[in-house]
Subunit: 203 residues, 2 copies
DNA sequence: ACCTGAACACCGTTCAAGT
DNA sequence: ACCTGAACACCGTTCAAGT
């Protein structure tokens, strides 16, 4: 058992988040519990409540780290590309790729619900917004003379579409639909949408 | 307390499902528990296990009823329309409308996860497939000379897109994105996608 | 000051025992 | 035969008590 002052609050926080991430990655979010996390880092469950407000708070912190990693991956895989269309398509592929590589973490970000009436804190909402802004930015060069509201809507539509594919794919509901490959579906969704976006707008 | 043979197995089943639906509708799926359902129908928790395999099974039955209602609503709202494009768009609006009217029930259908490795039973997958087939059928008149695989893919893309909008809207992540109205986003997604679908394909 | 350990009010699931 | 009630192994959260 850990004695007092073995670790700083910050160290305990980091240890707890890593333990939680391991549990989630290996067994899914249903296997996550305050008691398991505490045991995994050699502390009592009470100690977690000195560092986190409650379990929802801990999950929010885990989700923030997941969003950071997702954002970093999107930026990274975008970097080598020049063609505007290719760049937008790559955003979708990166998103799907991440969801596929880390399904449990990805699920938790979008399926975790705070108690009714509670909203995620602003710093968390900003991380979501940042990802959305990335789509908007890459969509702009394809948008011709469409105004910024149209671009926002286009980005939201694209993101929703890719997101929906991820969800249904993870839930196994797309095999039901007889679809061969998730990536080809993503490509089809984005390309067709963008064709319509450009056709119905700029000319 | 209920005495034995007060109700048939079928009656208990129906009472339990209704009680569960009420709990979910009013307080969300997190408030659902076997004990609460049992108490609500005047039986002991053990009794539920004579009628349902376990809590996952009870949830599956609730979800099946939700899918039936969603499907019925889509058919109903489709009936008065003639124009093929309007019909496809209506499917999206019905889907969003249902999710908006019954957010907790709708969420449970797509967020409930069976234990790792377990798949939903065939009869449940068929209910999902049936909804997908509806989209396929309505897409066909717009598909020109595209083959059935392209139509399947188109239906999957459309459904994914609308589904993603629902998820993000329910999670409150679309306000973050600065989108005015969910319905207009849906319309934009579907119209632009369909424009691309027809442009890139039939001609 | 830091952490524990026990308590409280819940869970899902099982099954011997009662009627 | 049908249902109960208690048990088991878990939960999240709190907080007096120990070091």
């Amino acid at each position: 058992m850990a004695r007092r002052s073995d670790h700083s609050r910050e160290e305990i926080r980091e240890m707890a988040l890593e333990a939680a991430e391991r549990l989630i990655a290996e067994q899914g979010s249903k296997a996550l519990s305050a008691r398991k996390v505490a045991t995994a880092i050699g502390y009592t469950v009470g100690t977690l409540y000195l560092v986190f407000e409650n379990l929802d708070d801990l999950i929010l912190q885990v989700n923030a780290r997941t969003l950071d990693r997702l954002h970093a991956r999107m930026l990274e895989e975008l970097a080598p590309l020049d063609d505007p269309m290719e760049r937008v398509l790559q955003l979708g592929h990166s998103y799907i790729g991440f969801a596929n590589d880390h399904p449990h973490h990805w699920e938790l970000v979008f399926e975790h619900r705070l108690p009714p009436g509670k909203q995620p804190p602003q710093w968390f909402r900003d991380k979501v917004r940042r990802m959305f802004a990335l789509v908007e930015r890459e969509l702009k060069p394809l948008a011709g003379n469409r105004d910024s509201q149209a671009i926002s809507r286009g980005a939201a539509a694209l993101w929703s579409g890719v997101h929906g594919i991820c969800i249904l794919a993870i839930g196994g509901q797309l095999e039901v639909a007889g679809v061969d490959s998730v990536q080809s579906l993503t490509r089809s969704l984005m390309r067709n949408y963008l064709t319509g976006f450009r056709t119905n707008g700029s000319s």
